[in-house]
């Protein structure tokens, strides 16, 4: 127990606990909102359609991911290609597209 706790006679009010929880939650949800632009699901669907013209892939074998840090955004596309003989995914192709911001 710290000296500060020792002198604090009252517990924090329930309203201040609520406020703190909300501030953390809202900050988290806002950061998620930014990394998932609304075009992403559509982009994924269209990419899947294009790729399916050439290779038979499962929707689960494709991942589209957008990452953001301070100076750049990275759009990462990863597709597990099926093995032609065994029909089992093992090859991996990971093109990335970078945009400086």
């Amino acid at each position: 127990m710290s000296l500060l706790d020792f002198f604090r006679t009252t517990r924090p009010s329930s309203a201040s606990v609520a406020k703190e929880r909300l501030q953390i939650l809202v900050a988290h949800e806002h950061s998620q909102r930014k990394t998932a632009p609304s075009y992403l699901p559509k982009l994924q669907k269209e990419l899947l359609a294009v790729i399916s013209k050439y290779v038979q892939i499962n929707p689960d074998d494709m991942r589209v991911n957008l990452e953001q840090n301070d100076h750049e955004e990275i759009l990462e596309l990863s597709i597990s290609l099926p093995d032609e003989k065994q029909e089992k995914p093992h090859k991996k192709s990971t093109p990335t597209h970078r945009r400086r911001g």
Partner: protein, 267 residues
């Protein structure tokens, strides 16, 4: 220019319909021709709160489906000539409202009305999305309570990304915070989030605070929007909200607990 205003929240039971009734009555009483639309398809309630439930013949979905024209469906309020109600349909068909259908009705209302108030259903499903889609302004009804504040924040995200204004890269919807069911005595005790807390979390402009009030239940029992019960705190709080929305500089009331003398002599 007509303004379209959505009364929304995400969470249910926070006071959207109560607010829609009093806000639209207030605008109408101030001399503006106002239409209020109930978007809660399947669970219509606004007609009850406004006391015109026995005069409903046609509804919003009938107009969209061209089974009735707008003039047949709009109900003129008996207390105020400037107020018209477009009731919700009782259908269970979730797809009864469409973006084109709603747009057509709103465009037609714009020819005739100064304000169009859209009473949103709870949630973030189709009805709520359509209620906010065409809005110019949004009143976010929030209770000082964790789940309501969180849902309001989510609704703000939706307003800024899924509305017509956002899709067409127009100036964004103007958002106003309306804190309802506020109890200053509980705030003082530390049991309830304060106005400042909620404003800080949502970073929004405050349109007003409606106190927790028994008069709201009495008003809905009687089918009269509470704003017409002029002596009550709730009526005055809603009147302030309307005046502020219309650009008057009205100081905030009902935020602080009345002192002993205030309680002794005040209502």
């Amino acid at each position: 220019m007509t303004r379209t205003i959505v009364i929304t929240s995400g969470k249910g039971g926070v006071g959207k319909t109560t607010t829609s009734a009093s806000f639209s009555m207030g605008l109408a009483k101030s001399g503006h021709k106002t239409a209020v639309i109930d978007f809660d398809v399947g669970l219509r309630n606004l007609d009850l709160i406004l006391g015109c439930e026995r005069r409903v013949v046609y509804d919003f979905v009938n107009v969209i489906n061209e089974e009735a024209n707008l003039n047949q469906a709009l109900i003129r309020d008996k207390r105020c000539d400037n107020l018209f109600i477009l009731p919700a349909s009782q259908t269970r068909d979730k797809d009864a409202l469409s973006i084109e259908g709603v747009g057509k009705v709103i465009d037609e209302l714009k020819q005739d009305f100064d304000y169009i108030v859209c009473d949103s259903p709870a949630g973030i499903e189709k009805g709520a999305m359509l209620a906010m889609y065409y809005a110019d302004d949004a009143i976010i009804v929030t209770n000082p309570e964790v789940s309501s504040v969180r849902d309001s924040d989510r609704m703000l995200g939706i307003l800024s990304s899924k509305s017509r204004r956002s899709e067409q890269n127009e100036e964004p919807i103007s958002e106003y915070l309306l804190l309802t069911r506020y109890d200053p005595s509980r705030v003082k005790k530390g049991d309830m989030l304060s106005v400042e807390d909620v404003q800080e979390i949502l970073s929004m402009d405050l349109l007003g605070v409606i106190p927790e009030s028994q008069d709201i239940l009495n008003a809905s029992n009687a089918g009269e929007p509470v704003i017409l019960q002029g002596k009550t705190n709730a009526a005055q709080a809603y009147q302030d909200v309307v005046d502020r929305y219309l650009g008057e500089d009205v100081p905030q009331r009902f935020i602080n607990q009345k002192g002993f003398l205030g309680r002794l002599f005040g209502g």
